[in-house]
Symmetry: C2
Subunit: 187 residues, 2 copies
């Protein structure tokens, strides 16, 4: 029931279809929770059957109809309850770092390539987050934004994502430099 909470949190931004949510996850939630469309459709069904969300069917012309979900009172309560649960230690699973850990007994060139690709994707994500931030701030200083806006959660997670990607970038640059030097000086 872990995805459930991420979905509830995402629906705080407003009603969304499965498809919308899938994009919303990619755009902002993906920073700390990833989910495939398949996962979302299944979870939405289950959540609806549990009364946490409700659907409103929107007829569309020249488009398939869609079901827009929003939080019910029970859903809001469930979200509240979730935030009040004692935190469990965050589980990390980073395949790239497993490869880096194993670089000395593995294919060093391939690991370097993987880091380089990671670096590129971190740069792309950082650029996206910067755009998102500018959109949120809408010309205001951070201070004013924080004073004025109703919600700060999305801003805080965005800041976390930004810092994470910045750190990814500088780590990857450093790691590449070290590994490249090694490869030119074989023992």
């Amino acid at each position: 029931m872990a995805l459930r909470n991420a979905v509830l949190a995402a629906l705080l931004e407003g009603e969304a279809s499965g498809y919308d949510l899938s994009k919303r996850f990619d755009a902002s939630v993906a920073n700390f929770w990833m989910a495939t469309p398949q996962q979302l459709y299944k979870e939405l069904e289950r959540m609806e059957s549990q009364g946490l969300i409700e659907a409103r069917v929107v007829q569309q012309e020249r488009r398939p109809n869609k079901r827009l979900y929003s939080l019910t009172g029970a859903g809001q309560q469930a979200l509240h309850d979730f935030t009040a649960e004692p935190p469990r230690p965050t589980a990390i699973r980073d395949e790239l770092l497993v490869k880096v850990q194993a670089v000395d007994g593995g294919d060093a060139a391939a690991v370097r390539a993987a880091i380089a690709e990671h670096l590129e994707s971190a740069r792309a994500k950082l650029a996206r987050y910067d755009l998102d931030r500018a959109r949120l701030l809408a010309g205001r200083t951070e201070e004013r934004f924080l004073a004025e806006s109703e919600r700060v959660g999305p801003y805080l997670t965005l800041m976390r994502g930004r810092a994470f990607e910045k750190e990814n970038i500088s780590w990857a640059e450093r790691a590449l430099a070290i590994l490249e030097q090694r490869s030119s000086l074989p023992a």
Copy 2:
């Protein structure tokens, strides 16, 4: 088969029992991959049956016997193959950030408490990583260490863990400050 690769990488450090591995994971691998003892025992069995690792039984007095596992040639090959695989985008799942995202519709005090706890654990981890780093460097400068040591993988992942925890700390401090200010100025 994702844990498998983390186990192979961990066994590069030398032979280990299930119990040893469990501690090794906690100590260093946990930085990027977490696994419970139960997971490890099951995975070790499977890996042995696939010929990736082999066990050597050590009789102990006043202690249960233990099975020390080490990589076979096939295991080394599997590790090599894994490092050469094209990287898949890292999956993140951070429950704390889900709570933060939902803070505006949830229990803000509980979320602040969760962040504070996270901050403490990040500080503790950073201190541990600093100790690990000092142990690895063994009095040498980073430059000399990198020039001399046979393996760099564990150092690079350690640096990543350190940077990650540092960033956790500064983000958590900032987030707490923002949320505390909000709580004292209710809309």
